[in-house]
């Protein structure tokens, strides 16, 4: 259970980075880090409560978080190119 608190503390640090991050890429970085932490949190939770099916959730989270992230990245890339 101790690990969970530390993970939460990390999440807080990442949120600060996301908010103050000087560039948009820092924000994206923070977002992906948060999603990684969330997945680890869920794995830890599933481990503590000893329920295997909760891991499906971690899987789906990894996939969907990835999709939205790459979409944002492509989008910004495209926009900054288009403005040239």
């Amino acid at each position: 259970m101790f690990a969970v608190w530390i993970l939460l503390a990390f999440m807080f640090l990442y949120i600060i980075r996301t908010v103050q991050g000087p560039t948009i890429w820092d924000r994206l970085l923070g977002m992906s880090l948060i999603s990684v932490k969330v997945i680890i949190l869920i794995v830890a939770y599933a481990s503590f409560s000893n329920r295997g099916y909760l891991l499906d959730y971690a899987l789906i989270y990894a996939l969907f978080g990835f999709i939205s992230l790459i979409f944002i990245a492509f989008f910004i890339l495209d926009r900054t190119r288009g403005n040239k």
């Binding site: 969970v4 608190w5 939460l8 999440m11 807080f12 949120i15 996301t18 908010v19 948009i24 924000r27 994206l28 977002m31 948060i34 999603s35 969330v38 949190l41 869920i42 939770y45 099916y53 909760l54 499906d56 959730y57 899987l59 789906i60 989270y61 996939l63 969907f64 978080g65 990835f66 999709i67 939205s68 790459i70 979409f71 944002i72 492509f74 989008f75 910004i76 890339l77 495209d78 926009r79 190119r81």
Partner: protein
């Protein structure tokens, strides 16, 4: 632990609402949805949490595609006034609404009703759901069994939204493939290769979610979104444009009609009482139909957005 998460949740919500730049809005909103999904998870609702994750990923995609169009369209924007304003003006703009909402919130809290929870229906459901509907997931058996009437309208909502998106958006009659939106070059970069590997994994995972919907978290909606995301990835890689809207839309309607007829036959007419051995197949079939419907719906919406305003 939950309280810390909830504080994060509120913080990210405030960030999402106050953010000025559109990309920041998207990022903050994604974080907001993520954290709320974790909160739902801790509340013991993995189904809702999964739906929220799926929805958040898709609304991120929608928002991005829409904002991209929005940039090119909006020309008239009132500039934000300079920062040094008179206090009275700022008060009118910000402090007054803030006080107003705060006052309402205080009134709300003052009148908070008794917190004791009446667990009558909960106990009834937990006691009966295996007998009546079958399956191991109580939420799914309510969703597809007891309250299937609601579920029909929810599927109808998606159908209507697809119809209205198709009606409200317009596109050129002949649209050829163009690689404008997806900034991916068609060269064999690492990311394209890897996504190509991941795509089938997504499909398999979606099918797994659908087939296991009645015994583990997940189900038709979540699996359908996973399958739809497979098509989005396909778009990202190949930039293909070969979606036949007319056929898919009619096919989607037919799926919905089948959904209704199945629900009517099985639940409304009470077949489930006489044929208990059909309960699990029914749940599976419903999950599959919902997944098909959702996947078609999201594919249409996505491609409509991409095609929207293309001339």
């Amino acid at each position: 632990m939950i309280y810390v998460l909830l504080v994060f949740w509120i913080i990210s919500g405030i960030l999402a609402i106050q953010a000025r730049k559109l990309i920041r809005i998207i990022v903050y909103l994604a974080i907001f949805s993520t954290i709320s999904a974790v909160c739902f998870f801790v509340f013991g609702a993995p189904d809702v949490s999964m739906a929220e994750v799926a929805v958040s990923s898709f609304s991120t995609v929608f928002l991005i595609v829409c904002f991209e169009k929005y940039f090119t369209l909006v020309t008239e924007v009132t500039k934000d006034p300079p920062h040094k304003e008179k206090l009275s003006k700022r008060a009118r703009k910000f402090i007054l609404p803030a006080c107003f909402t705060a006052a309402i919130a205080l009134l709300f809290v003052y009148f908070l009703p008794d917190g004791t929870v009446n667990t009558y229906l909960r106990d009834l459901y937990l006691y009966r759901f295996r007998l009546d509907v079958g399956g191991e997931n109580a939420a799914t058996s309510i969703y597809l069994g007891y309250r299937v009437y609601d579920t029909l309208f929810e599927a109808l909502m998606l159908l209507i939204s697809v119809v209205s998106v198709a009606h409200m958006s317009w596109r050129a009659e002949t649209d050829e493939t163009d690689a404008h939106f997806a900034g991916v070059t068609k060269s064999d970069t690492v990311d394209v290769y890897t996504i190509r590997i991941l795509c089938p994994a997504m499909l398999i995972f979606g099918v797994y979610l659908i087939l296991n919907g009645h015994i583990s978290p997940g189900g038709g909606f979540q699996g359908g979104v996973a399958i739809a995301s497979f098509f989005i990835c396909r778009y990202l890689i190949y930039d293909v444009y070969d979606v036949r809207f007319g056929k898919i839309m009619i096919f989607e309607k037919m799926t919905f009609a089948t959904l209704i007829i199945l629900a009517v036959l099985f639940v409304f007419l009470g077949v489930y009482i006489q044929l208990p051995q059909l309960r699990i197949p029914y749940l599976l079939a419903m999950n599959m139909l919902i997944a098909m419907k959702v996947a078609f719906g999201f594919i249409i919406i996505f491609y409509r957005y991409i095609a929207f305003e293309r001339r």
